[in-house]
């Protein structure tokens, strides 16, 4: 190309661990998306300058050690109850950014009532829902979101619709609630989906910071360990089977609708 006059070339760090994370290496399994989702959230906390005004609500699941990684205030909720804990925290500290981070066992099984009612009350919280179609932490049991036919430790014959019902699509269900302001489903299995996910996450944060209301982002996630797959195979399952059962998209956005 055309020569340029007097340009200083300096190396600039364009990508690194977010400031709002601790230095601790993850305990997650190789290829597990929890790590990506954590980092994406932490990046946004950095971007919005929220490190000093965040209260994270950890749930019980593989991500129970969330507080080891996020260098923010964190309260640990009993299994399934993060939305209730976040309700209390956010009402008491409205000026703080309050998020929950929950797995599908946590949010879609034991915590069904809590998520529905927090959504319907329009609590101004941001919910990160990590749907990996399995109970990871406890060793790979069937989740409400387990795919039909998927073998887990409690569906050794593969999930049977006749006895266990079909997988629940949480985003669709929550979107029917008038109280929910933003509901989206995203994935991080490739860069295209990743970028859409990041946008959705930002919007879910905006909705809270702007006081619009309850915001929910469902991340399709992988669990190579309990799916008994390589990280690559697991990513392929997300791309093929998961997205087919749980279509990506924005299911509700009361501002866009208006």
């Amino acid at each position: 190309m055309s020569p340029q006059k007097k340009t200083t070339v300096k190396m600039k760090k364009v990508f690194d661990r977010p400031k709002s994370m601790t230095k601790k290496p993850y305990h997650y399994c190789p290829g597990c998306h929890h790590g990506v989702i954590h980092r994406m959230l932490a990046e946004q906390i950095d971007a919005y300058g929220l490190k000093g005004k965040t209260i994270g609500v950890a749930s019980v699941g593989c991500s129970v050690l969330l507080y080891d990684y996020f260098d923010t205030d964190v309260v640990e909720a009993p299994h399934g109850r993060a939305p209730a804990v976040a309700t209390g925290a956010k009402r008491a500290q409205p000026e703080n950014f309050v998020f929950t981070y929950q797995g599908d066992g946590d949010l879609a099984a034991i915590g069904t009532a809590e998520i529905i009612h927090a959504a319907n009350r329009g609590e101004k919280i941001t919910v990160i829902f990590v749907n990996n179609a399995v109970f990871g932490m406890t060793g790979g049991q069937m989740a409400p979101t387990t795919l039909v036919g998927q073998v887990t430790t409690t569906s050794p014959q593969g999930r049977q619709v006749a006895t266990a019902g079909p997988p629940i699509r949480v985003a669709e269900m929550l979107a029917t609630l008038d109280g929910a302001a933003y509901v989206a489903r995203v994935a991080v299995n490739n860069i295209k989906n990743y970028k859409v996910a990041e946008k959705a996450l930002k919007r879910a944060i905006d909705f809270q910071l702007d006081g619009v209301g309850f915001a929910f982002v469902e991340f399709l996630s992988s669990c190579p360990t309990n799916w008994k797959m390589t990280p690559q195979e697991a990513n392929a399952r997300v791309a093929n089977e998961m997205i087919a059962q749980f279509p990506l998209g924005v299911y509700k956005d009361i501002l866009a609708a208006a």
């Binding site: 005004k53 950890a58 205030d73 309260v75 009993p78 109850r81 209730a84 309700t87």
Partner: protein, 353 residues
């Protein structure tokens, strides 16, 4: 002079809570304590506080956990079946050392039971109905005034020990109306150096009950244990005509106050009976009971159940004196006469004069 108003026991609790700076109430309706959420729904907004009717008892105890983790004074209330559902949450509050006030206006069980007053939840309250080795401070009011006073105290003790405090009343204590002197709350609420308020210009804070590192959980449990031991100094009880008594009755809450009338009746008939009424049932007034046993040689426990607190009395007495027991499962309210008769029976059986 403090204002004197005629209020329902349940309402006195609310007034005490509001006076003590409680700004967060989370609850789910259940008889016989509905006055509490109802009062709070009307009055919380007036003080800029938050009232949420939660979707369940489970949700409400966890909302309390969330609000109290930020340092706010928060309360929840329910009655027996609802309190059972809160047990996991209470265990978490203890495990993660989050203060909070839990009111149990207990009713009769087991199961759906009925809405009569009952003392069937004594074990649950004092031994921890949830999992693990933990204790909650349990205050057992017997008048509307005590409801008011002890609720204020409950918030202070909760903060002091970073532990949930339970108010254990029952359908009678919640529903009677009595004059209450609305003494102002004067204590200063200290800032909480562990509360989650956003890690602005300070290291971040974590509120949790999971302890994974080697030995960490054992240490944590020992620390909690020592804290529970320290709570002994909060022991409170009332002696009623007990000084010169030859037979001391031990009873708490609703039965405690009904028995005062029985004591008066029996005294009129010349029976030197008295009453020791635990106000804190955890910590239990072991020493006072032991002294009463040694002083008089005869104790009698009366409960609105088939025998729960009597174990604490026996543990305190350790065979030093006979401990008689009159228990009655819920389903009706015993009258002073009925109880007086039972006491008189024991008086005779033991050959007292």
């Amino acid at each position: 002079m403090a204002k004197r108003v005629l209020v329902k026991g349940n309402e006195a609790i609310c007034m005490g809570a509001l006076a003590a700076g409680c700004k967060f109430y989370f609850g789910y309706p259940i008889t016989p304590q509905n006055d509490i959420p109802e009062y709070m729904s009307a009055h919380m907004p007036e003080v800029g506080g938050t009232f949420i009717q939660a979707e369940s008892e489970v949700a409400s105890i966890n909302m309390l956990l969330g609000a109290a983790a930020t340092g706010a004074r928060a309360m929840t209330s329910s009655s027996s079946p609802g309190i059972s559902l809160k047990q996991e949450g209470i265990s978490y509050l203890c495990g993660s050392e989050v203060p909070g006030v839990v009111v149990n206006m207990s009713r009769s069980g087991p199961g759906l039971g009925g809405i009569h007053p009952s003392q069937g939840d004594y074990f649950q309250s004092t031994r921890g109905g949830g999992h693990g080795d933990y204790r909650v401070l349990v205050l057992a009011p017997s008048t509307a005034q005590e409801n008011y006073d002890l609720t204020m105290l409950a918030f202070d003790l909760a903060d002091k020990y970073r532990n949930p405090v339970m108010i254990l009343g029952d359908a009678l204590i919640g529903n009677i109306k009595e004059p209450v002197e609305l003494k102002p709350y004067r204590r200063k609420i200290k800032p909480k150096d562990w509360a989650l308020t956003g890690a602005h210009r300070r290291p971040r804070r974590i509120v949790k009950s999971l302890f994974l590192a080697d030995g960490e959980l054992t240490d944590h449990n020992w620390r909690l244990y020592k804290k529970y031991q320290r709570m002994a100094k909060e022991t409170r009880f009332e002696n009623y005509r007990a000084d010169d008594a030859k037979l001391v009755l031990v009873a708490f809450g609703s039965v405690g106050r009904i028995l005062k009338t029985s004591v008066d009746m029996l005294r009129e008939k010349g029976l030197a009976v008295g009453l020791l009424r635990p106000i804190t049932v955890y910590p239990f007034p072991h020493q006072a009971v032991q002294e009463a046993a040694e002083r008089t040689g005869h104790l009698m426990v009366v409960e609105l159940n088939t025998g729960q607190m009597v174990e604490d009395v026996r543990l305190a007495v350790e065979g030093r004196a006979p401990v008689d027991f009159y228990g009655r499962p819920p389903g009706s309210i015993p009258t002073p006469n009925e109880l007086a008769k039972e006491v008189a029976k024991v008086w005779r059986k033991r050959g007292l004069q």
